[in-house]
């Protein structure tokens, strides 16, 4: 099975595994991928946080954003865009981190679709993400 861009799609779970608001980690090849459903739409992104590599499956959703449990960074699961760069400062007297440490790329997104009760993910990531 292939998506419209020619990426090969692999079955990863049943549609019933991804009810509204659900997300789960699946492994395709050697890649851990986070799949889920939000607002009726499916998403698939690399499970590794682009900031420091934490498992995004340990985070939680806030609207369309996945919130990383490690440093609180938020990424839109449909666009991959970094939406919120959390400060480490718990108090005003703390000094902010160096910008080089704080910076992050976008989420790596993958094509995802469902057919006949199965969810499929493509290994080829979105070059725009």
């Amino acid at each position: 099975m292939k998506d419209p861009n020619g990426a090969e799609l692999r079955p990863v779970c049943k549609s019933d595994d991804l009810l509204e608001g659900a997300m789960m980690k699946v492994t395709v090849g050697s890649e851990d991928i986070l799949v889920g459903r939000k607002g009726g739409k499916l998403f698939a992104c690399n499970n590794s946080c682009p900031h420091k590599g934490a498992s995004l499956s340990k985070g939680h959703m806030d609207g369309e954003n996945i919130v990383c449990y490690m440093h609180g960074y938020e990424y839109n699961v449909f666009t991959g865009k970094l939406e919120k760069m959390m400060s480490w400062k718990k108090e005003d007297t703390w000094i902010e981190q160096d910008p080089e440490w704080r910076k992050s790329g976008p989420l790596v997104l993958y094509p995802i679709s469902e057919e006949d009760g199965m969810v499929y993910v493509g290994l080829k990531s979105n070059p725009d993400s």
Partner: protein
């Protein structure tokens, strides 16, 4: 075999067969040891600012955490190289890629609780960081897992100590036999000189 030719490395081959993403693991290890090394540096500054009667009371416990975090760096770095990884040649890049924030001295350091809060934040990030390595290697890479879980045990102890000092919640803490004893990681890694 000619000089410079690296033969097949069975110790890495078996990890891949076990499903370990070795490149991802090396990345996490580099970030983890980066955090340990920077924490060791910043804890030196924090310890120097544990002053007065209150500061004297926590100076030794901060020193234990400081030295043990350095030991964590030394325990895991040889494993990183075994896996084919390496430390960045530039220490600035090393610090920038570290998995946890720099434990900067807060502006109100005269309040000893402000130092304890920074110490606690650093330890909690380290627990999450080594937890990632443990999760990735459990049942697949016993050598990396063994080192990571030993580090994890000491990070959990450090967190408990600092929570006790901030909140009075008992931690089970009693002094180490000597500063930075590292009861769990002390025998790990060829760089440790205990």
């Amino acid at each position: 075999m000619t000089k410079g030719t690296v033969p097949n490395i069975v110790a890495i081959e078996v990890l891949k067969k076990n499903g370990v993403n070795v490149e991802k693991l090396k990345e996490l290890l580099t970030k983890g040891v980066g955090a340990e090394f920077t924490t060791y540096y910043y804890y030196t500054i924090l310890r120097m600012h544990c002053t007065g009667l209150d500061g004297e009371g926590i100076k030794e416990i901060v020193e234990d955490a400081r030295i043990e975090d350095r030991n964590h760096f030394e325990a895991m770095v040889p494993r990183l190289y075994e896996l084919g990884g390496s430390l960045p040649r530039d220490i600035r890049k090393f610090a920038d890629q570290a998995g946890c924030p720099d434990a900067y001295l807060p502006d109100n350091w005269e309040d000893i609780n402000s130092i304890l809060k920074v110490l606690l934040e650093a330890e909690q990030c380290a627990i999450r960081s080594w937890g990632e390595v443990c999760d990735m290697t459990a049942g697949k890479d016993p050598r990396t897992y063994d080192i990571a879980q030993r580090i994890m045990q000491e990070e959990v102890e450090h967190e408990a100590w600092f929570i006790e000092l901030l909140s009075k919640r008992p931690s089970g803490h009693f002094r180490r036999k000597f500063a930075g004893q590292s009861p769990h990681t002390g025998a790990q890694g060829s760089l440790i000189h205990l």
